[in-house]
């Protein structure tokens, strides 16, 4: 039951998730920032959660940076989901419940922030 006995898959999944999130966030942020520089138009202070996709469809480069930040913020959440799934598969229900509690608190943060 020690962490270093059968957790090779967990560590591999987590590493893959963090790498994917990191690279996509980095690429989106860089492209968005270069696009903003080339356009030279004023940029909105921030794009709220719901407006990212619509702003992107309207050709706003800042939306790409916002999407990059969103990708970054979603990465740890995906890591927690991976942990929950892994612990459920391993039938380590105590840790699975803990991961789900974390997800609930994070969701509460998004909902309370939006309202």
């Amino acid at each position: 039951m020690t962490t270093d006995r059968n957790d090779v898959r967990l560590y591999a999944w987590l590493r893959q998730a963090f790498l994917t999130g990191l690279v996509s966030s980095f690429v989106l942020t860089i492209i968005g920032f270069i696009w903003i520089s080339l356009q030279g138009a004023p940029v909105r202070d921030g794009i709220a959660f719901g407006g990212v996709l619509s702003s992107l469809l309207h050709g706003e480069p800042a939306a790409l940076v916002s999407l990059g930040i969103l990708a970054l913020l979603l990465t740890p959440i995906i890591a927690v989901i991976i942990c929950a799934v892994y612990f459920i598969i391993r039938r380590e229900l105590t840790y699975a419940a803990m991961a789900l509690v974390i997800l609930c608190i994070l969701s509460l943060g998004v909902v309370l922030g939006a309202t």
């Binding site: 963090f18 980095f26 202070d45 840790y95 509690v101």
Partner: protein, 329 residues
Amino acid sequence: MALVIQARTWKLTQAITGIVYNRNDRNAWLQTCERFFLHGACVNIHGMHWLDIGLLILIGLAAGAFGAMMGVGGGIFVVPLLTLAAGIPLHAAIAMSLIAVAGTGCSSVTSYIKARFTNVRLGVLLETTTTAGALAGAFLGMFLSARWLSGIFAVGLVLSGYFMFRNRNTAINVAALPDTNNHNFATSLQASYRDPGGGGEVRYCVIRVRQGLCASAVAGAMSGLLGIGGGVIQVPVMNLVMGLPIKAAIGTSNFMIGITAVASAFVYYVRGYVDLLTTAPVLVGIFLGAQSGVVVTRRVNGNKLRLAFSAVLVCVAVLMLLRAVGVNL
């Protein structure tokens, strides 16, 4: 080709900033440098010079490198640097810092997971109270004034510096404990990793879980309040109280700070408080700096790093304390 790009960049800079700069104009350079180092640059999205962008990337680099190196996320550097050096308002700096902390965590944890420094089970356990504390802190932070926040931040830094200064390798070797063959909850938190610094395989167990959970809640609240990762509390607590080796504490903290920062960063992001143009360069610096920080952690003596880190914390704390009492340097 390079000249064409340089000329185009120069024109773009003029278009964005609205100021006609001459590449050979030494006075413009000096004025900008003076603005940065003597008066603090007022960075805003409508008047951002490329030197502002360079400064923000540098801030991200420094914060990412130190944050990943010490498992603290870098928020303790990002917030003071953005407010003191770049002149950004404290609440905006906190929102930006939380994003940066998430970046440091995600960037460095890939290497720490590969090295097996990260104890995922312990991270998940402690995160239950940390995220709850972070959420409470984020909402509380919106109702507190910048001066109060500066004061709290300074006190937090002094405490962190003290803990870091006192920190010694207090890891409890699992081999030294009697084998009870009792696979209870604490046993499931045992872990091991191979130390590339020549220490061979390091096995350890986790003790004082309840105290760790309480400290995690405080770390989370500080994270939400002050825009830091909470690692300044988590690393000393895991090392001094819970018995983790310093490298395992740093690896686990880096896994946790990303999740902790996200809990409160979403509150700012969802409300559209994040200044995209200033956050982007900081993030780029963070991504690059965190990777270099991980490399240094593996090679440099931990005790020397810790002492230097304590000194830096105290210096920044003094600056923030002065700001809290109304003295702006």
